[in-house]
Amino acid sequence: MAGYILKRLLSAIPVLLGITVIVFLIMALIPGDPATAILGSYATPENVEKLNRDLGLDKPLVQQYFIWLGNMLTGDFGTSFALNRPVLDEVLERFNATLVLAGTAFVICSVLGVAAGVVSAAQQYGLADKAITFVVLLGISIPSFFLGMMMILLFSVNLRWFPVSGMWPIYGARDIWALLDHLVLPALALAVVATGVIARLARSAMLEVLRQDFIRTARAKGVPERRVIWGHALRAAMVSIIPVLGIQAGFVLSGAVYIEMVFQWPGVGRMLVDAILKRDILLVQGGVVFVAACYVLFNIAVDVAQSLLDPRIKT
């Protein structure tokens, strides 16, 4: 097993190097440079050249790439032009915020989605099934940013139940309640689409299982219906639900970008959008490399976990 993990980790190195080359090239090749973005109206060729020199952007591209890569290997991701602080500090702080948001949304969509799917399946073609199917299709069809704005309008502006935006209150304690208060709307808005997808797939997985013999046996021997559904059937259906959850985790993480914009959540998605618009090269590069590295490691972890759970998967 240790050998397998090591092999997977080593195979990640070329992937990560490839990512550094691609993101570096993209930032170098798109039109517009940080000096122009900083100087705005005052970007005369002369001023742009001087500022690029001050920022160390006048060196040949290849040299810039290796300086950046070398610094990064020693843990120095450089300093953001637009925010004037170390890239790594900013990325870690922002990634943390995104994890809180996406993590909560993931928990919500897993629990609600599976529950809705199970209830639907248990009541196939019944009133509950139809109602849930209707709501779920509605949820899948509404763009999350639009839903977010509507939620702000209803729950924050009209009802004033929750704050409009941000992650922490401007005043008062920064405790778990303050965080939850700010988290409810964005996490729900982010969870809606994934909840719908999970509910649909959980429903079909459950229907599949409910047709099998062992369920009939369980019912025949008098197991209460609630235990048949939530115990026997769901456990069996989880085998095909879990991979769906894994895929949805990725969607939730990437969908967080829109929600972070609407709710001004200080996450890594909003950070990257702002950084790209400001041509904040080092922040974009550092942010993308960091997020990519996390994805790669997450994938390795999932593969390893799967091979531990299911011995049929060769290591």
Partner: protein, 524 residues
Amino acid sequence: MTVFGFTRRALLAAGTAAALSLSATSAIAQSPPGVLIVGQIAEPKALDPAAVTAVNDFRILMNVYDGLVRYKDGTLETEPALATDWTISDDGTVYTFTLRDGVTFHDGSAFDAEAVKFNFDRMLDEAHPYHDTGPFPLAFFFSAVESVEVVDPLTVSFTLNAPYAPFLSNLAYPTGLIVSPAAVMQHGAEFGRNPSGTGAFKFAEWRSNEAVVVEANPDYWDGAPQLQAVVFRPITDANTRTAEMLAGGIDLMVEVPPVALGQFQADPYTVHEQAGPHVWFLILNAKEGPFADVRVRQAANYAINKEAIVNDVLEGTAEVAAGPTPPAFAWAYNPDLEPYPYDPEKARALIAEAGADGAELTFYVTEGGSGMLDPVAMGTAMQADLEAVGFDVSIETYEWNTFLGNVNPGLEGKADMAQMAWMTNDPDTLPFLALRTEAWPDKGGFNSGYYSNPKVDELLEAARVATDQSERARLYQEMQTIVQEDAPWVFVANWKQNAVTSDRVEGFTLQPSFFLLLEDVVKN
């Protein structure tokens, strides 16, 4: 049935409990009186006035620092601030300032002539030990400064390499704000996050991506401010900023999107508007193609319905521009100028006369950028107006940085017209950088349409070295008349900056400088 019943009850109970407990906490989070919460458009870059370029950052800085001079309330004319008095040598090259006595920086160090010299040397002298706390992108505002001399602790003199009339006005600009040398020495490159000035508010806290907090400076030389503190919150999304204002999360909102203004027209909100030194125009390529003919350039000015653009597209958040100088520069503005009227008949006649019927025009439009208002919608309206008088206009749209990268090097061989907008602090800046022959792109200027008129060059050079304001005013006014006639641009709009305050805020006014001054604001 049991399955469904169980789930529904559980969900309802959990949901209700969560909603109740959470809404209880948010009700407590009402902002206290005396603390003004400002909705800003972005996270600031730094609180070092020499290192930043964005209006967004200036809004904070103007409350934390003072310059040697400042703009008089409601005008763009300078008055004493940290300097109480000054004299200008007869040849206009030596400015000697008497400094205000007894002023200290927020960190306790004294404000004196040495501090002033430190500030300008740091920005301008590459050998200065703290020059590496930059870069200082707008240092060229003071490129005329040859040396700064300490005459005595309360007297400092600036020697310029040539007479430069906008110097005083530049000192009132945020780049001229005075920082504490002691704080720069202590924090080095981190000064931008540990600022110290002499202003009405002192820096308290910066929580990244959440808020910058400043507190009242009780010892302020111009009288302690009324507010206890100001919180600047970065809220980049305009819709979210509007929602925060409606929900009471902020007390003061800047840059209200035109479509949202209607929300705030009634109580408990007050909408503030103030025309500023902003001009929105189309650069016309006077070097080649149809716009090389002055008649066709004038025709474009007649053809575009500017009233409709400011009223319908911009919802009244701008006024029609008459010439290259915005009326906010009251002393330098030529009040006799009338905007080109909307007259498609006249435009058609001029086009026919010039033989430019059916000319194909390439029109550069940006998706959005500093001071550009609503460029895509404005561009589309202009395209329709120009096609109505017989042009064949094709629009090319670019993201802002790409757009600048295309427009600033000049339109030759690429386009016939391009959108542009400027906000400046002196009537010299824009025409000097964008209308002179010596400002063609290959000479390092912004005259991307290659306009050239020796008379205009002469007037602008003379106005720059004249030290008498009424003489400068006369020169600028004559320049405006000629430029309007020559029509190197389509003069479109002067933006009115807007802000909304809640009924808890009193004493707030916007300044024509577009700075946000909060010294006299009260919050109940």
